[in-house]
């Protein structure tokens, strides 16, 4: 690993708030180290702006370890940037070259309104989870953990679905702004586990209906979501969700508790 520095031209989306119109602003970023993360590069830009008395760029981020799902950014036309299987916070400047122009936008989706600059409102995701993304057990009074053996293969498969970090890259990548990869990951986690069976059909119904109510688009199987997902959530989750949803609608319809 050897550190070098470079100069970049950033075209960044600036938008004062949800109601005002946004626009691209060009900022020169000089002396950027290849060892910096993408967000550290933005930190440097923000420090410069602040010193000049200009409003720093607002972007969402928190853990900077690729797990909290708070960071976003549509970088040169790709959610979380050019590197495969990684979040923006784990993207490093060595993925770029000296003199490059980098276009930085927020997630674009009607269900994710821009709050300011690069930050969007993703509370729609929370509302979908609230509609049914759980097993209805109260604290206490549950059986011993080893009373319920689960085949390792099943447990591992459920884990693969459960790793979704809820960042919204799938929505941003999709030309229809569909949230199906996100929703299906949670539905699949429970559909694969014995704990999830009791509410399997009502859960699929409730979550899909909330997803539709939030204004996310339909899936036309372009696989853009799978390609851009930073944690490798598979398209098969969507197939499983659709199967469960139709199964529920046509054969096992239950009253969904709203």
């Amino acid at each position: 690993m050897s550190e070098t520095t470079m100069n970049l031209t950033l075209k960044i989306w600036r938008q004062k708030n949800q109601n005002e119109k946004g626009r691209f602003v060009t900022i020169e970023a000089k002396g950027i180290s290849t060892d910096m993360s993408f967000l550290e590069m933005l930190d440097v830009v923000n420090e410069d702006l602040t010193r000049k008395g200009e409003d720093p760029i607002y972007f969402d981020h928190d853990c900077r370890e690729g797990i909290c799902g708070m960071c976003s950014l549509y970088i040169n036309g790709q959610p979380h940037g050019p590197k495969h299987g990684t979040t923006t916070c784990q993207l490093h400047m060595r993925s770029f070259h000296d003199g490059q122009t980098i276009v930085i936008e927020p997630w674009r989706a009607a269900a994710f309104p821009v709050l300011k600059d690069l930050a969007v409102d993703r509370t729609a995701f929370d509302r979908i989870q609230q509609a049914g993304g759980y097993v209805s057990v109260n604290t206490g009074g549950v059986p011993d953990a080893n009373c319920l053996p689960i085949p390792k293969v099943k447990a591992d498969e459920a884990f693969e679905s459960a790793t979704c970090i809820g960042c919204g890259a799938c929505v941003a990548a999709c030309k229809n702004a569909s949230a199906m990869l996100f929703v299906s990951a949670k539905i699949s986690q429970y559909a694969l586990l014995p704990q999830g069976q009791a509410e399997r059909w009502s859960r699929a119904q409730a979550m899909v209906e909330q997803m539709d109510a939030e204004g996310f688009g339909a899936c036309t199987v372009t696989k853009a979501c799978e390609a851009e997902c930073p944690v490798g959530i598979k398209l098969t989750n969507i197939a499983r969700m659709n199967r469960d949803y139709f199964n529920a609608k046509f054969f096992k319809e239950e009253t969904v508790h709203h």
Binding site: N17, D43, N46, D62, E65, D126, G140, V142, A155
Partner: protein
């Protein structure tokens, strides 16, 4: 005020059962007459909010992130301890209790720690019932691994993402209660003060980060589940937004702050590369199960390596010093975190560090890959290896990782009694936010355990006892204390917005971090601490005279958010230094150079310092008053920790 820890009478193993019986209950029909405020939605906050709402209380949750699911518990990697003894390797509630007390270097309360060990088994059951996908054996039962500071395998895990899976479990339980209308969730809200009426906490003041609205919220009890204060060091493994503000503002309203100098420096983090660095990334210490820590045997070899004159592969086996295995044969690479960290620092100090800066040691998987095969190593640690690769551009399957200690966790926090109540009636602190269970050093895989123990299995019992004493009246929102406190917060925000100096908030924060790391980090001494105190006082003046805060209140305002937090960190930093000065002994993560054994290990002074130091705020720029809660050990014999 005399500190009453409210530890129940009776033998250790019966204390919690007896106490639960003696606590007053709230009739199910009366629970809906109470509102409980929960600040922070990590493991402690989400589990508490969900459990209390299930019982019938009305709950309001607050978090600064855009969703409760983002809380930093999510980043915990390695696992969660529980005394299940599923491995038949000699574990028990008492052993987990003993390991935790010993690991904490005998600076935690016996009763609290025993309760923690006792309810640990319920946590695993609860999480499995929620659908948390823990790692399993081929027979379908749960898998365990061993973790630093323990000789049994009691750690449950979900690959290297245990915190994520546990938090998503608690978040799902919380979501169910939000859906049921029992919890109202406020996101992108920051708590800025506690509302006090007749000496009791009756609500909080928050700032809506989107609109700037400064609002008051009333509740019969307030639970702070706001995590630790590691970001006082600027660089830490905490999330960027982690802060002490909620706890600190509560401290200024009368909640005592306990053992602030107890900070944990985690041994296995990715080393710092430069000034641009914004945070540090932890590599789970589960890696120490299979990785071997070493540095070159001599300064000369290390220097050649740093200069690129030789490659790692050129260093012969006999020229490698596996220093943890050499010094601690019985625990080897699995010694507790404080011991591993200090030894790494010692290697760097001796000039035997590696990497361009020399501030790193190797964590080598070559033997593990030879023994287990690359596929097995990948299955166990794949995501950690990937993360390392992303950040460093070095492939840990082919060459050893470079690691170095970094600030990771804070054992100190708001003082709480056995019921988790702070010195302010009605104000509770759960999880990392309180000081209660880890003494002077926390063992690996115990933070997740404590957060969930407090939230799922302690507070649902203890808060009711307080609520019954209040009667069933709603909180009087028209009490002038609400508007008065709100105005004070507004005034403070306006004061910050009026600052138009030449320094950025980060400039000041970085300076504070350097002072803390240099003088109040892995090793501390009288002279350095005295110097740090002066530097922090100067820095405080610099902040209020020369920092710049841009923009206005009525918008998402990055510089305003940071400014408030850094102002509080500066004040906390001074208290940490005071606490470190006061404690003239070494214990756990607090290493006073003046108090070491002949071979350089931490030396406690039980005669003079077997107490909890609880600090009382007495006013701006006034010295804080120290209250001592003696620690009484009836079930373990105090020994000098030895991992040799």
């Amino acid at each position: 005020m005399i500190l009453d820890s409210k530890i129940p009478e009776g033998p250790l193993a019966e204390k919690w059962s007896r106490h639960k019986f003696n606590l007053k209950l709230v009739n199910p029909a009366n629970k809906r007459k109470f509102t409980i405020i929960v600040v922070g939605t990590g493991l402690a906050g989400a589990s508490a909010a969900a459990s209390l709402a299930e019982l019938g209380y009305n709950v309001k949750t607050f978090c600064y992130q855009d969703s409760p699911r983002r809380a930093h518990s999510i980043a915990a990697q390695g696992g969660i301890n529980a005394a299940k003894n599923y491995q038949n390797d000699g574990d028990s509630v008492f052993r987990l209790f003993y390991d935790t007390i010993k690991g904490g270097d005998y600076r935690a309360r016996e009763a609290n720690v025993y309760r923690l060990a006792e309810v640990s088994v319920n946590i695993i059951d609860q999480c499995v019932a929620q659908g948390v996908p823990f790692a399993r054996e081929y027979g379908g039962l749960l898998d365990n691994r061993s973790f630093g500071g323990a000789q049994v395998s009691r750690t449950f895990y979900a690959r290297g993402q245990t915190g994520q899976q546990l938090l998503l479990g608690a978040y799902s339980a919380l979501n169910r209660q939000i859906h049921a209308g029992k919890v109202t969730s406020y996101t992108r809200h920051e708590m800025l003060d506690v509302v006090m009426i007749d000496g009791h906490a009756k609500g909080i003041i928050t700032r809506d980060l989107k609109t700037g609205a400064i609002e008051s919220h009333e509740g019969h009890a307030v639970l702070l589940c706001t995590g630790g204060y590691g970001n006082v060091f600027f660089l830490s493994t905490n999330a960027m937004g982690c802060n002490v503000t909620a706890a600190w503002r509560a401290h200024k309203r009368g909640a005592y702050f306990a053992n602030p100098c107890y900070t944990q420096i985690h041994p296995t983090c990715i080393p710092v590369t430069g000034d641009h660095q914004s945070k540090l990334t932890l590599m789970s210490e589960s890696l120490r199960n299979d990785g071997r820590v070493w540095v070159p045997k001599t300064k000369e070899i290390a220097e050649k390596l740093r200069k690129g004159q030789i490659k790692i592969s050129d260093i012969k086996e006999e020229d490698r010093d596996y220093f943890l295995e050499r010094k601690y044969p019985s625990f080897g690479n699995l010694v507790p975190r404080d011991v591993a960290s200090r030894n790494a620092k010692q290697m760097a100090d001796e000039g035997r560090g590696v990497g361009a800066t020399g501030l790193a040691v190797f964590l080598d998987f070559a033997d593990a890959i030879k023994r287990l095969g690359e596929d097995t190593v990948r299955a166990k640690y794949g995501n950690l290896f990937d993360m390392y690769y992303q950040i460093t551009d070095e492939n840990p399957y082919k060459q050893p990782m470079r690691i170095y200690p970094a600030v990771h966790y804070t054992m100190g926090g708001l003082w709480v009694d056995y019921n988790l109540m702070t010195s302010i009636p009605g104000l509770y602190a759960l999880g990392e936010c309180n000081f209660s269970d880890h003494g002077a050093n926390r063992l690996g895989a115990s933070a997740l355990m404590q957060g969930l123990a407090d939230g799922y299995f302690v507070i649902p019992y203890t808060v009711g006892d307080y609520l019954t004493s209040l009667g069933f009246k709603p909180v009087d929102k028209s009490n002038p204390a609400f508007e008065q406190t709100r105005l004070e917060v507004e005034e403070n925000v306006n004061k910050l917005l009026s600052l138009k100096g030449s320094k950025t908030v980060d400039d000041i924060h970085k300076k504070l971090g350097h002072i803390m790391w240099e003088y109040c980090g892995m090793a501390r001494n009288e002279e350095g601490l005295m110097k740090a105190k002066g530097l922090i006082q100067e820095l405080k003046k610099e902040f209020w005279n020369d920092v710049t805060v841009l923009g206005e209140n009525e918008e998402l305002n990055l510089s305003l958010e940071k400014a408030g937090r850094v102002a509080d960190f500066i004040e906390l930093g001074e208290l940490m230094v005071d606490d470190a000065l006061n404690r003239r002994e070494s214990c756990g993560g607090h290493f006073r150079e003046e108090s070491a054994t002949a071979d350089g290990e931490a030396k406690r002074d039980d005669e003079h310092y077997a107490y909890v130091a609880a600090w009382e705020y007495t006013g701006d720029n006034q010295p804080e008053v120290l209250h001592k809660e003696p620690l009484v050990f009836e079930n373990v014999k105090l020994t000098q920790r030895s991992y040799k």
